[in-house]
Structure formats: structure tokens, C-alpha cells
Amino acid sequence: MSYMLQHLHNGWQVDQAILSEEDRVVVIRFGHDWDPTCMVMDETLYRCAEKMKNFAVVYLVDISQVPDFNKMYELYDPCTTMFFYRNKHIMIDLGTGNNNKINWSMEDVQEFIDIVETVYRGARKGRGLVVSPKDYSTKYRY
């Protein structure tokens, strides 16, 4: 399903995508299209993208093709989703201890939209860190 979502093929494109978006959250999934975790996440993203097109835009980045950010964002997980708003990385308190990113795949579409909406509302109010509506500490242990 991921073919409907736009891929970014190099570091410049990623930078431009984050920079050029004026008033929407940029959601970037870092990973591999062939990875089963990513496949699940991409499916969710695909189903969300249309519903949240007013406040968010989704891009996919292959971390083998574009390794530029792997070190900076510590992209070691099979699937990592991060949020940016006006060239700023927005952190989310997910209850997991890692506020930088969602490094698992989500299946619930509404749940993900709720997170992105929270990010969007928080970022618009100038927050660099928002609290996700759901606490993922019990569901996903690290």
C-alpha cells in the first residue's frame, strides 16, 4: 500500500519536505518498504493520510537509500516515525521513555490520527514536546 505515499529519495528531498511545509505537520517514516513492521505502519499511514491531509503530510524514507539521518536521529529500529513542524522536530511523551520517535508500528488508524493531531495542536502553540493521548509504557516494554 505504501506506493501511494510519497517516498523521499535523498537527504536534500527530506530537508526540503520538512522545510517547505508551512502549516502542516510532516510525518516521516524511516525504514524499509520490505520490512514487515514498516508494512504494517505504512498501511496505517496510508489510511490516515487522507483523513489528516489538512494538518499533516506523510513521507516515507528508506534508511538504506538515505542514510544521512541515521546517526543524527539514531535510526536503528526497523521502523521509526518522527514528526516535524516548521523545520522543528516535535517530541512526544509516549510513556516509553523515548520522546523522540515512535519506533514501533501502529495499527489503530484513529489512535495515530489522535497523536498527530496532538502534535499539530501542540506545535502550533509553540510546544516542542507534547503528551500523546495514550500511554504506551504498558503495551510496549523496552
Binding site: D108, Q110, E111, D114, T118, R121, G122, K125, R127, V130, V131, S132, P133, K134, D135
Partner: protein, 306 residues
Amino acid sequence: MREEMEEGHFDAQGTYIFDKTKEIRDNWIDNIDWVKVKHLNPDSSGTKRPLEGSDSSDEEEDESTKNAKTMKAYMSMLDILEKGETVAKAIRRLGKNKSKIPSASQRWKAKKKKTGGSEASAECDQEAVNKAIAEQKQMLQLTELSDMLIQQGIMDIYETPYERISFTLKQMREKSQDSRLTIAEKASDGDLLDMFADDFEGKEDGNKDQEESEKESNKGDAKVEFKMPAVPVDGKASAASSMGGVLWEYKEKDTDGAKIRGPFTTSQMSKWSDDGTFGPGVLCRKYQSEGQFYNSSRLDFDLYDE
């Protein structure tokens, strides 16, 4: 063909035209004094013009009376609706017992039966029927009202819940109070211009005026509020959250059967979550979102205040 040619002729397009110019001599038309008619014309247009003028002023009036009408409609709607109910739901609720209203033939049968006996049950039936008829009346009134509102451009009236209607009503009241207020302020401004020396007093007077009218508006609010404890009573808090604001509902226990309360405005939820009304946290979600419930301790209601 020849006969036809005697009575008329064909024109270039082949249309047959009767040559009746001579025959049509109407005594009535002959009697009309065209000079008089011309005299009358400016008069009639003169009478028309003020009519048009009144039309346009009607439109202006419409603007003000429209609001009053809408407010009235909203108020009578509130009487019919139950708390947390949308108009469509109310119509469904009221229309449910329609089948209980007997048709004429059924009534006749019932009469026959009554003569036969079992009057107690018949009376019981009668009560139910009366109730159903009353509900039917209410439903018709409700549909009429919503139809009127739709004609005035409020297209989503059927999906509007009770709380939002009461909120809109209150806002409209405030607005009308405000417009009166600005007039009062203008008047006091005029006073200020007239007497510069006493401008301080004038200001004070203006403030007093404001205070008084505010009191009045509060009184008005109290009147509206009699039926809706769910909506924040203090006018300022509700005025801060705009109409487009998010509404919430919550339940205290994480079970399917738990009673869902709401809708509440964001400012109300924010207040409750700040002052500890929710305790360790209740489960909330956006009103009628059908999504999952989130713990209120993790929701930042400030984000939803526009």
C-alpha cells in the same frame, strides 16, 4: 385555401396571420382616455417606489428580526430536546410511538370493545395514546422549527446537540446585549465630546452603564441557564471557547457499560482536570467521535482551546 387567404395571409416564414385589424374594435379600448392613463402612470410608479423602499427596509428588519426569530426557535427547541440529544435523535425519539396513535378505524373498534367491557385497560391505553399524540405534536413542532432554521441557512441543525443550541442561544443573547452596549457607549462618548471638563464623570457614568447592562445580560443568562447545568454557568469562560471549539465526553470507568457523560466544552474539561475534579483521571474522548477513550491525565486540554 382561397377562403383562408380571404381571412388572412401567410408571411415570409410561412406563418398564417389573420387579417383581423378591422374586426377588432373594442369599445372598451376605445373608451380609454390615454391621456389620463399617462397621467396616472407617474403616480402609480410613485406609489410603487415607497413600496420598494419598504421592501428593502423589510430586509434590514429581517436581519434583526431574523435573529430574534432564530433565538425563539432555539428556545422552543430546547424545551423539547433532552440533555445531550441532537435534534435528529429527538425527532426519532418522539416519532417512535407513532404507531400507538390509533387510526380512525382502530378508534372505532376500541369504542366497540369499550362497550363490551375492560374499561380499565382501555383507559390505560388512552393514556399511552394521549402521550403518543403529545409526542407527535412535539415532533411536528420540532421538524417545523428545524425546517425554518435550515431555511435561514443553519444547515447542520439536525446534528446539533442540545448543549450547542443552548450555547449558541447564549452567544446570540450576548451579542444582542453587546450591540445595545455599543450604542450606550456611543451615547456616553457623545456626552464626553460635549463637555470636556466633566469627561472623568462621563467615563464613570459610561462604566456604570456598562456594569448595569452587564448585570442585565447576566440576568438574561440566568434565565437561559435554568435547564442546562452541564454548560459552564459563567458567561466569560464559555464565551472564550468559540463555537467551533472541541466538545468532549467522558466516563469514569473503563468498561463498555460505564455511563458516558457529556458533551462538555474544552474550557470546562480543562478546569475540571486542573482543579482535581477528575481525581486520578477519567476516560475522555471527543464528543461523538466513536474513537477510543484516553485518560484525562494525558490529555492537554489547553491545546484544544482555539
